[in-house]
Amino acid sequence: MASNQNNPTCCTLCPAMCPMELVWKAPDRPVVEYPTEAGAGLCPRGSALGELLASPYRIRRPVDIEAAAELMTDGATVLIDGNLPLEEIAAAAGIVSAWGGVNLCCVVSPEDEQLLLGIEATGAVYLADDDLAGCDGFVVVGDVFAANPRCARNVMDALAKHRRAPLVVIDAGGSVTAKFATRRIICRPGDETDALVGDDVASAVEARKRLGVIISAEAGRGNIWRRIGYQAGELAKSHGGGVSAQTIGANALAAVRLNKHLGLLSLAKALKQDSGVLVPLGVDILGMMGWADMDVPVVAAALPNCTTESARVVLPVALSCEMSGTYLQAGTQTVKTSALLPPPAGVPTVSELLRALAESAGADVPPSGGGLPPTGRISIPVPDSAEVKVPDGKVLIAARQAARHGDGALTAYAEWQKQSSPLPEIRMSQADAADLGLRDLAQVEVETESYKTIARLRIVKYIRPGTLAISESYPEARRLMPYVIDADSDAIISNPTTVAVRAVEPVKAQ
């Protein structure tokens, strides 16, 4: 049964939806003010929002609707961010259906999309962050504490309450979460599926009556995530618990459901379409996919990104936190939030922009209805088992991080992030570092067959020799392991990639 909550203003960059407030330090400088009492919490992504809303890099150029509409006359596929309020997505879908000849896709991170489809196939209950505190044990896949730092508090509180509660962490990427595990399964990338149904997990959670299964879906593990979602749901159901998917953005589940309910295109289909141009509105599609070349003539963005670099027409657009509206939490609860700030003068929201484009193309667009679109559970077949081909030698996978958001396009403009972590971090074992003659925190050159970039080395304890994990929230890191569209499954995947790492400066013997 759906229940409703009101959150006056909050961060919507992850499912924690931390309450936050802005104050004005100067007439043009909003900053986050933290609640005066302990315990609220706001991670670096949320802290950066105040600065980003008033960033001097904001795109505010004139909204050249005619030039954009001109480029869309032979049809278009519009991509919108899946992390918009429900009302905004519904309005965009309404406009596109009245327009005709134009398709719409609500974009979610490819791993999150697959994970959520897998969970939907099980009928398992989704747990909100606060529900985690009531669990009597946890099975975790990936770096969930980095994906959503707030969920760590609830996990730790639950462990303090149930002294024998297990925290089983299955991880290939040298995660922070693994350090806190009571039982650690450090696997090869792609082996998470076997581990989740293996004897180690079964015996560790045997007596649990309310198990929390928490997943953070990271790139570089091939096509495992739909299967993982399914296995996670089944495991949680068999122990009276539920699943918590630590997605990029608070509304990923809603977007996945709306793509089905409203008959929108999947991202794989949208990218394969050859009818008309691709028009990303508020999505850095090139940065997200790690692709260098794609013809994207029209794009809307709040801040410059990989896609705006090559577009012929760049339009300004509001950030999702500049729009009031409703988010779906834990599968059934709707949470209404207010905009942190209204968009800057002259900067349209996604639906305002889409309406202007449609009207300029001569479409008769009715006013948007006020109701919420359907967000009920969708029916998904049980996914097949998944197998990942891991090449020989050292392989590169991706890892989540607390400081930066998603594909990194937004937080790339945050000053603290720029100063504290200007380079992506690449994690490797002590054995690999010794093998390559590298020291901790050294600058290194990372090369795959697709790309070459500079990163900062971090030696970590809980990673298998031969596996290297790079922070995913940097466009240059994504280009090292670009996504491909899997023709069989219609999924977008990134596989573990052979990698070479070398020092960029001579290393002195210690």
Binding site: E37, G39, P44, V176, T182
Partner: protein, 164 residues
């Protein structure tokens, strides 16, 4: 000279998930001069924050009296007097004072006195921002009474996870 402060910022190393929320909160609320540093501690990269020492070596080392203990007992840096010589940074035994190479001035934790001076249970921003409750703003005597050992301003002991 005034008395030392009663409440300090204490870190529970067994809860810190290295998320950097504390450092980001300090950066964004202290004019981009963050006083939360990070340091390698075994396998972790943990925040290091001013201990508000009783006999503060940084105060003694400052040649221009820019680093002082104020009336509330907080060791503070008076930015308009600071000449950026770095004496305090070198004197600090815990390495919590960064020397800002661009501005040639020292960033210094003031316990967010603008919030905490009222005493209404308000905590410094780093403590409020910490998503897991690893940072506490507490009287170390009270924390010790809770059977937690404090070492150089950090809490330890009673470690469920026995990691570090």
């Amino acid at each position: 000279m005034s008395e030392e402060v009663v409440k300090r910022i204490l870190l529970d190393m067994d809860r810190c998930i290295e998320c950097g929320s504390c450092a980001a909160a300090c950066y964004y609320s202290h004019g981009a001069m963050p006083a939360v540093q990070s340091a390698r501690q075994g396998p972790a990269m943990l925040p290091v924050i001013c201990r508000q020492c009783k006999d503060a070596p940084c105060v003694a080392a400052c040649p221009v009296e820019a680093m002082v203990r104020d009336d509330a007992g907080i060791v503070r840096r008076n930015l308009s007097r600071c000449i950026g010589c770095g004496s305090c940074a070198r004197a600090c035994p815990f390495g919590v004072l960064p020397n800002d190479v661009t501005r040639k001035q020292i960033a210094k934790c003031d316990l967010c006195a603008d919030r905490t001076a009222s005493g209404n249970g308000a905590v410094p921003r780093c403590v409020a921002a910490c998503p897991v409750g690893a940072l506490q703003f507490a009287d170390e005597n009270e924390v010790s009474a809770g059977n937690i050992l404090i070492l150089g301003g950090r809490t330890t002991g009673k470690d469920r996870f026995k990691r570090r």
